[in-house]
Symmetry: C2
Subunit: 143 residues, 2 copies
């Protein structure tokens, strides 16, 4: 009844972790010249895309605690890439807005992200690469 032994390198947990490690290896050196980490760039992408978001809203979307978000926004603020603004209509909330410099870094970073992803996906055909992204999206969505 038990099928063939699932070697550790075949487990999804292993594959997901190592794919992430490899992507980070490829991407971080490319981000470095921009003066930001991949994490920080993800935040710029999050807050620079669509209508202004509060810290809490961003934290929920990124899957981190709101106390973690405070520190992350602090970093970006110290670099002059974002500013906090009291939300009109609810003075408890802080909207996180990109500065012009933050916007520039976000755009440059998006280009770099595409490059790093292309490097990671190099061994796959364009079709399989798109299938991989779509499959991950479906799996993550089902929350």
């Amino acid at each position: 009844m038990s099928s063939a032994p699932l070697a550790v390198t075949q487990r999804l947990g292993y594959l997901l972790k190592h794919a992430q490690l490899r992507l980070a290896e490829l991407a971080e050196p490319l981000y470095a010249p921009l003066g930001v980490t991949g994490r920080q760039l993800a935040l710029l992408t999050l807050f620079g895309d669509g209508p202004a978001r509060s810290q809490q809203d961003g934290a929920a979307r990124l899957g981190v605690d709101r106390t973690t978000m405070v520190a992350l926004v602090d970093e970006l603020e110290a670099k002059g890439l974002v500013r906090r603004e009291v939300a009109p209509g609810d003075r408890r909330k802080r909207l996180v807005l990109l500065t012009p410099e933050g916007e520039r870094v976000r755009e440059a970073g998006a280009e770099v992200t595409r490059k790093a992803e292309a490097l990671l996906l190099e061994p796959l055909s364009a079709e399989d690469a798109e299938r991989l992204r779509a499959a991950l999206h479906q799996v993550v969505r089902a929350e």
Copy 2:
């Protein structure tokens, strides 16, 4: 020249991280009755599969530091799931071997891993699920 803005939820880094988070959410409650974490089960899978490995060998394969491996093996040894044995031929090396109990937990865990993966992959067709695993494998291998 810059294509459409790549929303943060479309980035591979985001997708890989959240797929991992979701898998852990699904799997950990199933592992708990076995008295081990997913991490520990991964180690049992690693050391229980194929010829005996040294700690260093296992660390390299798992992508962790050798000092980290010491602590991980300590945990399993304290639970009576593995034992260390001096490697014949090189007295510096310690082979990590599964005890009978460790072997039992490994087998039960493999079954549970399959179940958790099936839950994660539920939204995909069997064909797409296999494609996902194959694509990740290719991407990780290219090291």
